[in-house]
């Protein structure tokens, strides 16, 4: 596999064409395009699907957010009206906005940190044990409906597990209807969300940790890394930066897309709209009221918030290990 002189010579004729002429930037790019045409062929199928299902929808959404559109009539241009209404006249939107922020700020970092810490804890276990522990932590997120067991666990009558025990211990005199009580809905949903969140991030962290070069650790030990905490900070985290960024992205999309758990455990809408999120608001305007322009404006706001969160997290992660 080593390069011999002969091989290098064989490579040369390709470039000779340009040898005599001065290499302008445009010509250089064109020659690179010609040489690497296979690259375009390889990315083409994906690129086409990506444009069709991501780029076009996003551009359309942004355009629609400036209009009023109900699918029956031609969209009517309304400028910034939708946004003005969202922030100044729609009280429920403000509720949804602050709830989404609350859910995101609690569940996002918690799931991100938990996914790393657990993966790091189990990294040095023997393969068999590691596989077993991975399964225990990953299982809750594996099934879309497994979290419904929390509904049985916290059932609102005396047959619910928590109520039964609280009653028996005399801490309450009558059962608490947990998922209908405004005091419990939000904290419980946050706990359930964190419980189900150790999914892809967790698995990619495990794979990433396994991929860290062991010789780096050995070199670190020689250079005076004293304990595993220093090792994690100076060696493991920096070598996993790309995987961590990936996890952060997942944590953000997960945390801001919060909604299905609330629907299935607390009903839709939740009592007094205490757990009403942007996701709910969007689906309400899209699915029930058919106001696609307004719904698009909500989607654009959600997108902007997520972009902002991502920029913040990236900035923070670039400081890791320094």
């Amino acid at each position: 596999m080593t390069k011999t002189k002969k091989d290098v010579k064989l490579q040369q004729p390709k470039n000779q064409k340009y040898a005599g002429k001065a290499m302008t930037k445009g010509r250089y790019i064109r020659s690179q395009m010609k040489r690497n045409w296979v690259g375009y062929v390889m990315v083409a199928p994906f690129l086409i699907m990506f444009i069709a299902f991501t780029v076009v929808p996003v551009v359309l959404s942004i355009l629609l957010s400036f209009t009023s559109f109900n699918m029956l009539q031609v969209p009517e241009w309304k400028g910034l009206d939708n946004y003005v209404q969202l922030f100044l006249a729609d009280d429920l939107f403000i509720t949804a906005f602050s709830n989404t922020m609350l859910f995101a700020i609690t569940t996002g970092p918690a799931s991100f940190i938990l996914a790393f810490i657990v993966a790091w804890f189990i990294n040095e276990l023997s393969p068999r044990l590691r596989a077993f522990v991975t399964l225990i932590f990953y299982a809750p997120s594996i099934s879309g409906t497994a979290y419904l067991v929390w509904g049985i666990f916290f059932k609102g009558d005396i047959y619910g597990y928590v109520n039964g025990w609280l009653l028996k211990m005399g801490m309450i005199s009558e059962p608490i209807v947990f998922f209908k009580d405004v005091n419990y809905i939000v904290p419980l949903c946050i706990v359930v969300a964190i419980w189900t969140s150790l999914g892809t991030t967790f698995l990619s962290n495990i794979a990433g940790l396994q991929g860290v070069d062991r010789s780096l650790y050995e070199a670190g030990a020689i250079d005076g890394v004293k304990n595993r905490w220093q090792e994690a900070w100076y060696i493991t985290l920096p070598s996993m930066r790309s995987i961590l960024l990936f996890g952060a992205v997942l944590a953000i999309t997960g945390a801001f897309g919060f909604g299905a758990i609330v629907d299935n455990l607390c009903g839709n809408p939740s009592t007094d709209y205490v757990a009403w999120t942007l996701q709910h608001h969007l689906v309400e305007y899209m699915g029930t009221r058919f106001e696609y322009g307004y719904a698009s404006a909500i989607a654009v706001v959600l997108f902007a918030i997520m972009m902002g969160a991502n920029a913040l997290v990236q900035k923070f992660l670039s400081k890791v290990g320094e």
Binding site: G39, I158, S242, F303
Partner: protein
């Protein structure tokens, strides 16, 4: 500064590991693990709990007389569905396999090209993909619906399959692993030896990033499996096993728990099979150089 003495065992430097840290981590793991597992355990015992034990208060965390009745209830209802259950099963297999396979192939192929073929425009394309990771299905949901109508894909298999192929997440994961684990020199050497790009991708890159695509396989399959009941498909003949189970498990609380266990078991089995393979590759590949 005193030079620290290194402990070496079998030509490897023994890393600094304190006893206290080991114990602390083990205790934390057990506590966290118990918290994670308790609801799962509760789901499992709910699925084998006989009717008579359902009304004990406070409920027990174990079952005195385990029963398979809940599963029998669940599956006896299957025969009463209008569309034969084999049809649901067939749909699920088609959708999960096609979606997962396509996502793996397109994701890894594109990731390889973006990572190792230096064509102009690749940096811009990857930047765009990185930004688009933030775009969840919630955001594109409205306009994607119009696109599905325009393509006339409502109520077909396509709607459950093709969008998964365009998943940027898988591509991003693969690209990161290829960047981190395969050096440009190795690819260059293979090119000089006369290997074509497709061959390099298939014979050199894919085996080396096996942990990445096995992870992708597990998560994609799980996602497709759980997303079975798409709102855009309404023909009973095109629905998945997952949605059938969800419908028929409504007969009783016990059957619902049994249904959850059945639905969960398939991705878990796939996960276990893959996990052992992931471990194998990790141990034998010597990922770098």
């Amino acid at each position: 500064m005193a030079v620290k003495k290194l402990r070496v065992r079998g030509h490897r430097v023994v890393l600094n590991r304190s006893k206290g840290g080991d114990v602390g981590i083990t205790v934390m793991l057990i506590l966290l693990g118990a918290l994670m597992f308790l609801p799962m355990w509760y789901l499992l015992i709910e699925s084998v709990k006989p009717l008579g034990e359902r009304n004990i208060t406070p409920p027990l965390l174990y079952v005195m007389k385990p029963t398979a009745q809940n599963f029998i209830d669940l599956f006896s209802n299957i025969n009463s569905t209008w569309v034969p259950i084999s049809r649901y099963f067939f749909n699920t297999i088609i959708i999960s396999v096609a979606a997962t396979f396509g996502c793996l192939v397109f994701g890894s192929l594109t990731a390889y090209a973006l990572s190792k073929i230096k064509f102009p425009g690749r940096v811009a394309m990857f930047k765009m993909i990185q930004w688009s990771l933030m775009i969840s299905s919630t955001i594109t949901g409205i306009t994607n619906f119009f696109i599905f109508i325009w393509l006339d894909w409502l109520n077909t298999y396509w709607i459950s399959i093709i969008p998964v192929w365009a998943s940027t997440l898988g591509l991003y994961l693969m690209k990161q692993f290829i960047d981190a684990n395969i050096s440009d020199e190795m690819i260059e050497a293979a090119r000089i030896d006369g290997a074509g790009e497709l061959r390099i991708y298939w014979q050199i890159v894919m085996p080396l990033v096996k942990p990445a695509w096995l992870t992708l396989l597990v998560t994609t399959f799980q996602q497709v499996w759980n997303a079975g009941a798409s709102g855009y498909v309404w023909s009973e003949q095109l629905k998945t096993f997952n949605s059938a189970i969800a419908t028929i498990s409504g007969v009783s609380a016990g059957a619902a728990s049994a249904g959850s266990v059945v639905m969960m078991s398939v991705p878990i089995i796939i996960f276990i099979i893959n996990q052992s393979k992931i471990v194998e590759t990790m141990a034998s590949s010597g990922m770098k150089d």
